[in-house]
């Protein structure tokens, strides 16, 4: 798995792999959702993300972006985070999702991508029971679609990988 980062920025990044404008549900601007495929952390606000979520050819969509309040973070193994992962597996799949992380041990948010019929279900994002969620409309060119996790595994495949990335890396780090 390549290292991939995601951040919601106030202005476009100069070096992003992919990015698109973000809008609040009422249509007002919410900044730019940017993604980078690189080893080094590209921006202060950037968090690691499952890179299957990022697609420069992806169409527009809606996201539930869950981020912890400033200064708050939760162990990835916290029971609330475990239960949110179970709920994701139990419910109908969305277009793509990933937990967000900055280190190997803490849950620092999640992003769920929806299109079509799935958009209405973003209001019931299991991860939004942990930290506040923003429902945003994202332009084309940054978010793709990925197959739903096979289940029932809720563990990360190595602590450096965001869930639901679903296999141990065989390449040397």
């Amino acid at each position: 798995m390549t290292r991939c980062w995601l951040a919601l920025l106030e202005s476009p990044a100069t070096d992003a792999t992919a990015q698109a404008r973000a809008y609040e549900a009422d249509g007002s601007p919410a900044g730019w959702l940017a993604a980078w495929r690189q080893h080094v952390k590209p921006a202060r606000a950037a968090r690691r993300v499952d890179d299957r979520l990022v697609d420069v050819d992806g169409g527009p969509g809606w996201v539930s972006l869950v981020l912890p309040p400033d200064g708050a973070r939760l162990p990835f193994d916290d029971l609330a985070v475990q239960q949110a992962r179970r709920r994701v597996l139990a419910e109908p799949p969305q277009d793509a999702l990933s937990t967000l992380m900055r280190d190997a041990s803490h849950f620092e948010g999640a992003i769920t991508v929806a299109r079509g019929m799935g958009v209405a279900r973003l209001n019931d994002d299991p991860f939004a029971r942990i930290f506040p969620a923003r429902i945003l409309r994202i332009g084309a060119g940054v978010l793709g679609a990925a197959a739903a996790p096979a289940g029932p595994v809720i563990e990360r495949y190595g602590s450096a990988n965001p869930w639901p990335w679903d296999r141990f890396d065989t390449r040397a780090p």
Partner: protein, 169 residues
């Protein structure tokens, strides 16, 4: 010609719709993990309901043990989704509504001409889809117990996890 589904043989990489209607290939669902692959008659069968209670009991272990479960029937995706939700299952159900994989695998239960279902069968597979053990569940006692499934998952994990012997200092 019937495919040989004996231990040591490769299980065919079948491709079917999942409970949400998305096309899924078995090899992708398995990823790099041991898997319990279950073929079942349908939601209506009491024997299947009893066996699913075993799998549900195993689910809480599988979710932290890097092991997967896949269930296959001829039920439609909508029926599979409803059955899955009712069971509380958090793994993928596949729907072979046109029975193409059933014919390819030779797993049609010929004694049920009303439902034309899958023959109840369970296979434990290596990540490369090699069959570890095969269980004929036509008679209920032919199905694996949770202890047998734990044993199979352990045996496969022992073989495929390079660090099974824990690195320690």
């Amino acid at each position: 010609m019937t495919i040989d589904l004996s231990p040591g043989r490769p299980f065919p990489d079948i491709e079917l719709d999942d409970h949400a209607g998305n096309r899924r290939r078995l090899a992708v669902l398995v990823g790099g993990d041991p898997v319990v692959l279950q073929f079942f008659r349908g939601w209506w069968c009491p024997k299947e309901q009893a066996f699913f209670r075993r799998l549900i009991a195993l689910q809480d272990e599988a979710e932290v043990a890097y092991s997967r479960i896949v269930s296959v029937s001829v039920d439609t995706p909508a029926v599979s989704a409803a059955f899955r939700a009712g069971l509380g299952a958090r793994w993928t159900f596949l729907s072979d509504t046109d029975r193409t994989a059933q014919a390819e695998l030779g797993l049609r239960e010929t004694t049920d001409t009303l439902n034309d279902p899958y023959l109840p069968a369970v296979f434990t597979l290596f990540p490369d889809l090699t069959i570890h053990r095969a269980y004929d569940g036509y008679w209920f006692w032919g199905r694996p117990t949770t202890e047998e499934l734990r044993r199979d998952m352990r045996e496969i994990s022992t073989a495929v996890r390079a660090d099974w012997a824990a690195p320690a200092a």
